[in-house]
Amino acid sequence: MLAPQHNYTNLSSAAGLGLIGLNENDIAVDYGCMLFDSFVYVSRLCRKIVGIIPSSGKLKTFQNRIVKEDVKNYDLVNANYNEQHFNEVFDCVIINSFLEQLIIEIKHGKTIFFDSKIRDKKKDNSSEKIRTQFLETVCNGLRPGGKLYLSYSNKLRIRTLLLFVKLSIESFFTAFSLKKALSFISLVKAVYLFSYYLLSQEGLEKLLKANGFIDIEKYAVFPNHVHPLKIIPLSKLDECSYEPVQHLYGEGSLRRISAGIKRRVDRIVFRKFKLFGLSPSFIITARKAL
């Protein structure tokens, strides 16, 4: 049952979710519950939302805020992403800051695709399959035709790559051996594959397709995915016109000057040269294949 109309909380920072058309009978799952407004917005429009939060401290804070918003049609689950093995199916999956999750997997060595040793050991045709356990779990939890919504920051992607490289180098040198030295090529290959599949638009699309998703649409988001003001579908660039948008905080002359410079640079980068790969954030929507 949807919550009664009792307050005037503005949830417009969840405008990105308007792209996937939520229905009142939908049951959604939010991995990480990174954006509070998104969670509340989905709870208002859907029949039920399940939130998965790995940190118990964050779960408690989150729960307190939800009570204040009078959200009742929700379940919060305190567990790691990979420990979730829902037997049931969801209509919609929401993942904000998706790449952080992959880093967790890499750190714990649970990602089949990035673990070259596992691939070598298998020695079968499946070694060439592109998979991550997390995306596989997500896909399994969706009903056929169910919707996937991913949002992430472009900066996060660069940070994620750096973190991955750091983790890889650390693990390489902590237990140094001749065997490891020989597997240096594997490390380089893993970094290359990571950057290809997660940092390139094309690679990420391949990764989603390999995990059973179809109808993949990619969007450039401005000025960020937390409070989007402009979202442009990358497949409709010819029909969309870009005008610089930004959140203005304060009215100091320095801020105005820097905002003015940013506007001009954005016009050149995105309107003239259409370099949307440099967008500050991205959203990806997809459906599970029937």
Binding site: T9, S12, V89, K230, P233, K236
Partner: protein, 259 residues
């Protein structure tokens, strides 16, 4: 491991649901709690306004009333669809025709402006109930030959007929603002044109009119006195240039048009 009741989670759903491709055009402009999307559904393109709060619901419902008032005798209204869920959505068809920039100026648009004043006089006079659009500007018109469409009815409200002319004066002031690059200094050609517009507007208007004696000052007074009717959720001076303009500027333009 977490398990939810199967009966709750497994619902019969059609599998042909597709995710519609959308562009977010604006979001929460002037804190209106509304997002505007351009939606591509198969070969059809339309616009969708979606609320993100109950304030947004009020504004969208009001906008629908505006469309009903303006298009009550046309097919456009049939194509305009209000969906009342927890948050409201209003689907608006894509109108074909010439569109104008939000920072349009007087120079080069004189013929269009005169045509729109005639259109306003005809259309508004023909209505049984008088109403104010509330944000009439060149950029809210879409003109296809003689077929004129008007969008963005968020600030629509019914009013007394004595306030006839408010919308046109508001539109002219926005044009002055952009023409003068915010200095309010116009050349003689523009000043003469403004006077011509004013004469065109007052022709046939009765003495009881409360706007046209001092059009710019009276329009600002109307805006400030009845601001609650405009459903503004922010500082009104940030939304309307007319409300933030000093008296001296308004007196100056009143004297230009009424001399």
């Amino acid at each position: 491991m977490v398990s939810l009741p199967r009966s709750l989670l497994q619902l019969e759903k059609p599998y042909d649901i597709t995710i519609m491709l959308c562009e977010l055009i604006t979001n929460n402009t002037h804190n209106n709690n509304i997002a505007l999307y351009k939606c591509y559904n198969a070969n059809k393109v339309f616009y969708r306004k979606a609320a993100f709060s109950h304030w947004g619901n009020k504004v969208i419902e009001n906008e629908k009333k505006g469309y009903e008032w303006f298009y009550n005798d046309s097919e456009t209204l049939i194509e305009t669809r209000l969906k009342k869920g927890y948050f409201y959505e209003l689907d608006i068809p894509q109108f074909k025709g010439r569109k104008f920039q939000s920072e349009s100026i007087i120079s080069g648009n004189e013929e269009t402006i005169e045509m729109l004043i005639d259109f306003y006089k005809d259309r508004w006079s023909a209505k049984d109930v008088f109403a104010i659009h509330g944000d009439l500007a060149l950029c809210n018109f879409i003109i296809d030959k003689m077929n004129i469409k008007l969008v963005d009815w968020e600030h629509f409200h019914c009013s007394d007929k004595e306030f006839f002319g408010y919308d046109i004066i508001n539109m002219l002031f926005i044009l002055i603002y952009h023409e003068s690059k915010r200095t309010f200094s116009l050349n003689k050609r523009n000043r003469d044109f403004l006077r011509k517009c004013y004469i065109q507007l007052i022709e046939g208007v009765g003495n009881s009119n409360k706007i046209l004696e001092k059009p710019f000052q009276n329009s600002k007074d109307y805006l400030l006195k009845f601001k609650y009717r405009f459903l503004i959720n922010t500082n009104i001076n940030k939304k309307f240039v007319l409300s933030d303009s000093p008296l001296s500027v308004l007196e100056h333009f009143d004297s230009i048009v009424t001399k």
